[in-house]
Amino acid sequence: MHALEKILAKAAGRDSVSAGEIVNAKVDLAEVNDLYLQTIKSFYEMGGERVNDPDKITFILDHYAPAPSIQTASNQKEMREFCYDQGIEKLYDINEGVCHQVMVEKGLVWPGMVLVATDSHTTTHGAFGAFGTGVGATDLATIMLTGELWFKVPEVIKIEITGKLNPRVMAKDVILYIISKLGTDGAVYKGVEFTGETVKNMSIAERMVLCNMTVEMGAKTSYIKPDETTFRYVKERTGKDFKVEYTDEDYQYSKEYTFDVSDLKPQVAVPHSVDNGRDMDKVEDVKVDQVFIGTCTGGRLEDIEAAVKAMNGRSVHSKTRLLIIPASKEVMEKAIEKGYVSTLMKAGATFSSPGCGPCLGTHQGLLAPGEVCATTSSRNFPGRMGSTEADIYLVSPATAGEIAVNGKISSKKTLKEER
């Protein structure tokens, strides 16, 4: 069995499971974000009165933090009241940040757990060897009601990554490159495991970027075998006892790929599909109106630091705006401590409080028709960040910093000076 199968088997009270089977599994943590008032509505519509286990539920108000409209304020109000009523103590309000970063920082994620959230990027938690997957509101409501959910056991694809990354080439470049090769439907319904020396040498933040974006290939979940890096991070955050599941030697992956990233250059995914990744030096020059650094994909301390380094004391281009939204309060505090916030603000950046920001086109920095945005987030679908007539380019935080200074995406060997 694969480790992911062992996790599901244990949660389903079974000795073994295999790909394709449908099992009912206990969920260790269910997370609801503030897009999903429907979860509460569905819970009551199904006849729910008391949630199955308030300790295994968390509400995180991040997508509309703080509320941009009366309607979202009312939705958040109802969610808070639900938490108070039901004794759900893990309510993280608009002051905390993006759910996937907050859950990890608060020690709610550990190897071997089953984590389900009302958010597609729940694949992120494969970085800790957890089974993490996203669902809609009604699925989540059934977990609140019963503590369980049905899952189809996924096949698993193995992606081995080898080679040492060039300076300024980040995990984001690696995953954009892989998605450009495998396509947006390259892993639909599948689990995606990352292995190889490059992954082993990656920090937790970098591993989270890889796993986060597997959903852009359609993945159900993802996985990186927990190691010392994982244990060190998790043990600092959680007092939880956990048992790590390991994949059997004879497990048959449904597909195996190897990518050598030693010569990889900074990548850009051009509009309007995540698999449109290409070397930046092959992209035609385009003037950029807004650069956005933030989100559960590219808003961690390491990302802000990479932008600071790439900008190297230079100012934001006079015809470009640089918007930075740290992924969490903790990230923001550390960025302040390290002086990044003041450096960047002096260079012309705008900071907003932690949360999803304009990532999903609801508030805090939307795009006008005809505008171009370079972003460290994960999706460049039409209309994702505002007008359907805006163009979104996906890049790494280092590349974003460079673009902010130049005011454009340019093939002119932009990163050369720093090498």
Binding site: L35, S120, V135, G136
Partner: protein, 166 residues
């Protein structure tokens, strides 16, 4: 759930993501009838003008990829879409649709088989699509047994209401 579904086809390309089915700027809406006013708006702002209840949505592949927003399934369910047929679906959209009782069918070659405006007849249990306009038949996939059961209960809510857990 009707065994045979018939309606007029509306065709879309590949990778129609949930932002195109239901743009993010409307996510704060809660009432299904409000959500229904923006069906497919990101992909075709004029869609609802051409649509009539029971029509069938045809897509190339990977329909509903992207976010987990249930609004995407709610909007299509509430406008009364007869079914959605695609070569493949985004995983969460698939689950959400099944949970809400919105019929889906996975069917290879559907894009070449149908033109916009064709009249179709679908047998979900057998996994068959008939193009009445062009007088031809294509075989798709049947819904898995477990999923069919849930659809027959009228979606997952009814399924749990029947179980009566408090």
């Amino acid at each position: 759930m009707d065994k045979i579904i018939s309606g007029k086809a509306h065709t879309f390309g590949k990778n129609i993501d949930t932002d195109q089915i239901y743009p993010g700027r409307y996510l704060e809406l809660v009432k299904p009838e409000d959500i229904a006013k923006h069906a497919m708006e990101g992909a075709d702002p004029k869609f609802l003008e051409k649509y009539s209840k029971g029509d069938i949505i045809i897509a190339d592949k990977n329909f509903g990829c992207g976010s987990s927003r249930e609004h995407a399934a709610i909007t299509l369910k509430t406008i009364g879409a007869g079914a959605v047929i695609s070569e493949s679906f985004g995983r969460i959209f698939y689950r959400n649709s099944i949970n809400l009782g919105l019929p889906l069918m996975v069917c290879q070659g559907i894009k070449e088989f149908v033109e916009a405006g064709d009249k179709l007849e679908i047998d979900l249990e057998e996994g068959i699509v008939k193009n009445i306009t062009k007088n031809k038949i294509l075989k798709g996939e049947k819904l898995p047994e477990f999923v069919l059961e849930m659809m027959e209960a009228g979606g997952i809510k009814q399924y749990y209401i029947n179980k009566n857990i408090k």
